[in-house]
């Protein structure tokens, strides 16, 4: 998959929203913006691996914001990505500081007036925790849930992808897997508390 086209910001937003062009859009984002964002992370004390992880998290957040129609074209996509990456990296630095990693924490400009994007990208730490819960479900459950809820495949199509006898077996398995995931989420006190507050309000 080699992207020859160059997207304008508006075209890139449209490409992200379209399932058929999403991968091309992601590749374009990496080609255009990964280097500058990575150099920023490295400049602020991160390793190449940190830069790699932060940029991946940044791209996921950006796509999520766009897909949920929360992206406002007030700044360029590049500026937005840099702001998100800064947000993620500074939070990571704070987390490392809290957990006693004081090896080389730079003066990273706590007093800097950053573009406030937290309302757009949401609670990334919570998302990360939830993602870990999905990954810990076990491969069969993870796969069935991904195919249905992320790839939007029908039961019939899932039967073709997975070694299950028929649609009803897949359906039952999916019930169990989703219930299992809901169960582990309920056991997370912080998330359970948050849900209670949403229900009350």
């Amino acid at each position: 998959m080699r992207v020859a086209v160059k997207y304008t910001d508006a075209e890139l937003i449209a490409a992200v929203k379209d399932e058929r062009t999403l991968n091309e859009a992601i590749l374009f984002i990496y080609q255009q913006y990964a280097a500058s964002t990575s150099s920023f992370i490295i400049h602020y004390g991160g390793s190449e691996q940190d830069a790699d992880d932060v940029f991946q998290e940044t791209v996921v957040s950006f796509i999520d914001v766009v897909k949920k129609d929360k992206y406002r074209m007030e700044a360029s996509i590049k500026t937005f990505l840099v702001s998100v990456a800064k947000n993620i990296w500074f939070n990571e630095l704070k987390k490392r500081e809290r957990s006693g990693h004081r090896e080389k924490i730079f003066e990273y400009g706590r007093d800097q007036k950053e573009q406030d994007i937290s309302h757009q990208i949401g609670d990334l730490e919570k998302k990360r925790q939830l993602r870990d819960l999905v990954n810990n479900l076990g491969e069969p459950c993870k796969k069935i849930l991904m195919l249905f809820y992320y790839e939007n495949l029908s039961m019939k199509e899932i039967v073709e992808h997975l070694p299950y006898e028929n649609e009803q077996v897949v359906r039952n398995k999916k019930y169990k897997c989703l219930q299992a995931l809901t169960g582990v989420i309920k056991n997370n006190p912080a998330i359970a508390q948050q849900i209670s507050e949403i229900v009350k309000s």
Binding site: N23, A75, M146, Y149, Y175, L178, I198
Partner: protein, 255 residues
Amino acid sequence: MEQQHALIDHLDNTLRGGASAETQQMIDSDPELNREWQFLRLAVDAVQDAGLYEEVATVKEQWKIQQVQQTAVIRPTGGIVRTLSRNMAKIAAILVLVGGGAAFFKYATISSGSLYDKYYTSYSLNTSRGASGEDAMDKAYQAKDWNAVIAAFSPAKRTNKSDFLAGMADLELKKYDDAIEHFEQIMAANAQANTDYFQDEAQYYLAISWLAKDKVNEALPILEKIRADKNHLYHDKVEKMSFLDLRLVQYKESK
């Protein structure tokens, strides 16, 4: 159990555009059911987020492979064969040698850094912008005391002007990463506040800073944008630049 299955069915129908208004009403009016509903939604959000994360990871790996492949040899393109007379062939050979030699020399010596040296000019703080703020930073800038300019910069009291002067001082001291950060900060601040204070200057010198860092791929889109905007403060300057040279560097640096 049955109730949970009904909720899951309702969720699936909601996601695929066939929700029942009746079931939704029931959920909204029953706090316990609503709580279960919220957990289910959160679980599906988590699956979708994990799916997206994996998709990005897959494309990232493809991108890394591409980066390695970019070092591969570029295939020669086929040309049209024409018959030349013996003399014409000699002349053509000489021209190719002379032209090729010049081209080879240019190719061998050109780089982002050489373009930076060619196009960089210091910024003079003019009176209209300098006179109003007879502060330490202005004075230091006019005295070309770059370290003092940087020392006078305070992140807590930053303005576009102070960011710009600090960025220019960083450029003079060849601290390109710091300069880039100042110029990008100006552009972000302008985008956020819908202003354009020092915007054109920041854009131009951001491109120049990327050239200094041998990152022509970062510089080119900015310079193209400036060239396309006739009202840009640096339009005339950029128009005089050789985009052929820039593209040659781009080709050379992508190898």
